[in-house]
């Protein structure tokens, strides 16, 4: 009987030892998992560092291209772009243009225009509205001016003076419209390149995922899909919660002929985010409506 009690004691001791061993195994497995996760995240950081180095190397080469272009043009384009990106109120631009007068305001607006559609579709829509407002404002000014002239004509000026002024106004408006056309043409040819360079510089300074995404969009518009893929990935690495970076990455993949991969990427993101926009894009790609 004593032997049996002794045996039972041994069994309790054995059970305790086994439980401890199980706990140790679980703890060890947990630590291993944590270590693996830590290593994995470190690898990501190293990759990011590597990418940054590439960007720095690219940035060093690119300023040489900028110097080839006329300085004045660069100034004209760069300043409004930066102003535009910094400002959040479109109304400010409109007010500034009012202050600067007819020619000046036209210059600013026209210089911005070719750039905006490349930047952002949302901002484009906002810009279109603001453009309409500017147009309306200009029209209003002109109408007012015309009205004013008419008022003057009827009140203070003679018929010959009135015809001279009208002629002068027509001439000025012709010159202005000609200048506008010229600027438009110049900007259309050179603004995208400048914009990309500017944005690259900006991104290098700020490391803002938004800038990387804008670059991706710019490249996408230029049909440089491998570049747009790369920048979308850069944006995504910094902020993976942004729908647009996923969308841009997938769209670039699609354009590069990797439809299945694009769908796979979006589906995996959709599982996490449940974003309706993502769902819509998946459907679009699948039905080849993109």
């Amino acid at each position: 009987m004593d032997n049996m009690r002794e045996l039972e004691k041994r069994w309790y001791f054995y059970r305790a030892k086994e439980s401890l061993r199980s706990i140790n195994i679980v703890a060890f497995m947990g630590m291993m998992s944590l270590a693996s996760y830590y290593t994995y995240t470190q690898v990501d950081v190293i990759k990011n560092l590597f990418n940054e180095n590439i960007l720095v190397a690219e940035a060093k080469v690119e300023p040489k291209k900028v110097t080839v272009e006329p300085i004045i043009l660069a100034k004209i384009v760069e300043k409004p772009v930066e102003e535009h990106l910094k400002s959040t109120k479109v109304a400010d631009v409109v007010l500034a243009s009012k202050n600067e007068g007819l020619d000046g305001s036209t210059l600013h607006v026209v210089a911005l225009e070719p750039v905006i559609p490349i930047i952002d579709m949302e901002k484009e829509s906002r810009k279109v509205t603001s453009k309409k407002r500017v147009y309306k404002a200009t029209r209003h000014n002109q109408t007012t001016q015309r009205k004013m002239v008419k008022a003057k004509a009827s009140t203070y000026l003679t018929a010959s003076e009135l015809s001279t002024i009208k002629h002068e106004i027509k001439r000025k408006s012709r010159v202005a419209s000609r200048n506008t056309e010229n600027i438009k043409k110049i900007n259309l040819n050179g603004s995208s390149v400048n914009y990309i360079e500017t944005m690259k510089k900006k991104f290098k300074r700020s490391k803002n995922p938004r800038d990387a995404l804008l670059l991706a969009k710019a490249f996408y518009e230029k049909k440089a899909y491998s570049q747009s893929e790369k920048w979308a990935l850069t944006a995504n690495k910094i902020d993976s919660s942004n729908d647009e970076s996923w969308h841009m990455f997938a769209k670039s993949k699609l354009k590069l002929g990797q439809k299945n991969e694009a769908i796979k990427i979006l589906e995996s993101y959709y599982k996490k985010s449940h974003s309706p926009k993502t769902k819509a894009l998946i459907v679009k790609i699948k039905t080849e409506r993109l």
């Binding site: 049996m4 039972e8 069994w11």
Partner: protein, 270 residues
């Protein structure tokens, strides 16, 4: 008050009784092989295997099955004295008792056997032959050469006995039947059959495959080891049934008792 587990544990006491024999597929195959070998003109048949693989049991079954139909003699315990061995062989052949003051002359026995050639065929079953001396084994070999006496011998499979089997009887052993441990499934059938044969159906229902797996982990399907394990297990059951019956369930085997058995037998360290 006696526990119901007392009788259960007793069926696992290691013995070579014929009514304890459990028909297993592998054992049945070996038995048929052995029976067929006896009909062939072989001088010696070797049953070979590790201790506890059922050699003695097989020999015992063969003896009881054939004792009515042919001249067969079973020496279940080894006879270490040469004088005693020759006397027992002579008595078995002649069916006459040899007086104590006389001894059997080996040459005389050999000549006697040679005279019987073609008239009789006598089978001797010798268990635990690894205990016989080399000189006696040599005499057994010479007796088998007369083709009147046929020997079925069992040997434990160890390094030394392997040498005996390979060198000493190399030319005379024409049939070697090697027995091995039971598989997990065989062990399950063995235990179930053993319990059901003795009427312990309820206990047999308690034993599941996972319990057999546990037992097999330590006994490797060795019948002797498995019997020892089950004997100890039901011994523990008996204790708890008598002293703390609330701890005993008849639904399934207790993991605690299984582990206690393994601890008691030294399979695991406590």
């Amino acid at each position: 008050m006696t526990s119901r587990f007392e009788n259960v544990k007793n069926i696992f006491i290691d013995s070579v009784e014929r009514n304890n024999y459990v028909e297993l597929e592998s054992a049945q195959h070996n038995y048929k092989l052995l029976e067929k070998s006896l009909d062939k003109p072989l001088k010696m048949i070797l049953l070979f295997g590790k201790p506890g693989t059922g050699k003695s049991m097989l020999l015992n079954k063969l003896y009881h099955n054939l004792k009515e139909s042919r001249e067969i003699h079973y020496f279940d315990a080894p006879i270490l004295s040469e004088k005693e061995f020759l006397r027992r062989v002579y008595e078995a052949i002649t069916d006459k008792a040899v007086p104590n003051e006389l001894r059997v002359n080996f040459d005389g026995l050999l000549r006697f056997c040679q005279k019987l050639k073609g008239e009789r065929e006598i089978v001797f079953l010798l268990d635990e032959c690894q205990l016989y001396s080399e000189a006696l084994m040599e005499k057994i070999r010479l007796l088998s050469d007369t083709r009147v006496i046929k020997f079925v011998i069992t040997l434990h499979k160890t390094e030394n006995e392997d040498i005996i089997a390979k060198q000493h009887f190399k030319t005379r052993i024409w049939e070697v039947i090697e027995l091995s441990n039971a598989s997990e499934d065989d062990l399950y059938i063995y235990i179930q059959k053993k319990l059901i044969q003795k009427g312990f159906v309820e206990i047999s229902n308690m034993i599941k495959k996972k319990h057999i797996r546990f037992i097999y982990t330590y006994t490797y399907g060795n019948f002797r080891e498995s019997n020892k394990f089950l004997y100890t297990l039901f011994d523990i059951y008996e204790y708890f049934d008598e002293n703390r019956p609330h701890k005993v369930s008849t639904e399934k085997l207790s993991k605690k008792f299984l582990e206690m058995t393994a601890l008691k037998l030294g399979y695991i360290d406590g």
